[in-house]
Amino acid sequence: MAAPSLLRGGLRRLFAGLWGRGWASPPARALREGESGTGGTIEGKIIEDAAAPTPPNPSGQCPICRWNLKHKYDYVDVLLLSQFIRSDGGMLPRRTTGLCLEEHKKIAVCVQMAHRAGLLPNHRPRLPEGHTPKKPKLNRYLTRWSVRSAKPIWKRGPKWCKVPMPVGHPLLKDNVKYTHKFLNFNH
């Protein structure tokens, strides 16, 4: 199907061997023709990633268990969360990453909260034209529901039965706490 000179799967970065310009985004499935005057062929080298360091617990079933991170991550740990997302912000499928179901759900929830908190500014969905998306004017964090779906609570009720405002997500209730404060999911 694809000629050897085309990009194949497994290729992470295109090494611009014969291009005079700097690195550009790799073509998805097309044959990029050579620039005029450079010779006309493109060389693509498959660069193998450096071998990943051995995890502390190699007998774990999912990456989180292998690295002993089971109850230890939150929406703030962007370095970990960014390994499980696509460039437009969506989650990678579980059969690719190898996560178990509950950890996949927890990571998905943390990624959602990180997006809403604005911690992943470069993982935005690609828009067709040059339509600039409007910047969010309000800062938020630990948002459980999406911004458009939350409705105002016009009547909160008396003190003994107040309608709560949810914060965080109950999937993360088993996270390790380093303070003695009670983790409140309803404010």
Binding site: G9, P55, P63, V76, L99, T143, K151
Partner: protein, 179 residues
């Protein structure tokens, strides 16, 4: 205490101090809790409710406060003008866009003790939506109150060395295409 004159010690103990608090990316409830302690004077060992020992607090960047959860959409501020049909309800978003200092002001007002000194303590609170402060207030500032919430770092605020130092938790299969 060892080498100060009695007059200097007295002055330093009973003078009214000016504190600065940056509310950028902070929840207004925790901001209010920190300011109320200073406004009442509870941070001083000489505190007494009747001795008017509160300090001034200047809060900047109130336009950039951050609510946890969906409170921007869910929290409702209600008031009544006193006239029939005058019950007004606005969401936190609408109130913040109309007046960027109102949310912090209401939070502090409702957290202060409900006595006659509340109004004098509110007069000692100074709110500014951005970090532009009048010169005469800026000259009075003594100390900055630490921020109650640790602001998390965005992904683009990490250096490439830190990103490279973080281990890859999973290895993609050979036929994986990263989009």
């Amino acid at each position: 205490m060892a080498s100060y004159t009695k007059a200097a010690q007295q002055w330093a103990t009973f003078a009214r101090a000016w504190y600065l608090l940056d509310a950028k990316m902070q929840p207004p409830g925790k901001i209010a809790a920190a300011t109320v302690i200073r406004l009442e004077g509870r941070h001083k060992p000489i505190y007494h409710a009747l001795s008017d020992c509160g300090d001034h607090v200047v809060i900047i960047n109130t336009r950039h406060i951050a609510f946890s959860g969906n409170k921007w959409e869910q929290k409702v501020y209600s008031s009544h003008t006193g006239y029939p049909g005058g019950f007004k309800q606005v969401t936190a978003t609408q109130l913040h866009l109309k007046d960027p200092t109102a949310i912090v002001k209401l939070a502090v007002y409702r957290m202060l003790p409900k006595n006659l000194q509340r109004r004098t303590m509110m007069q000692r609170l100074h709110l500014f939506p951005e970090d532009v402060i009048p010169e005469d207030i800026e000259k009075n500032l003594l100390q900055e109150i630490p921020q109650p919430r640790a602001v998390p770092r965005r992904l683009d605020e990490y250096t490439p060395e830190e990103i490279a130092a973080f281990p890859r938790v999973w290895t993609p299969p050979k036929d994986f295409r990263r989009k």
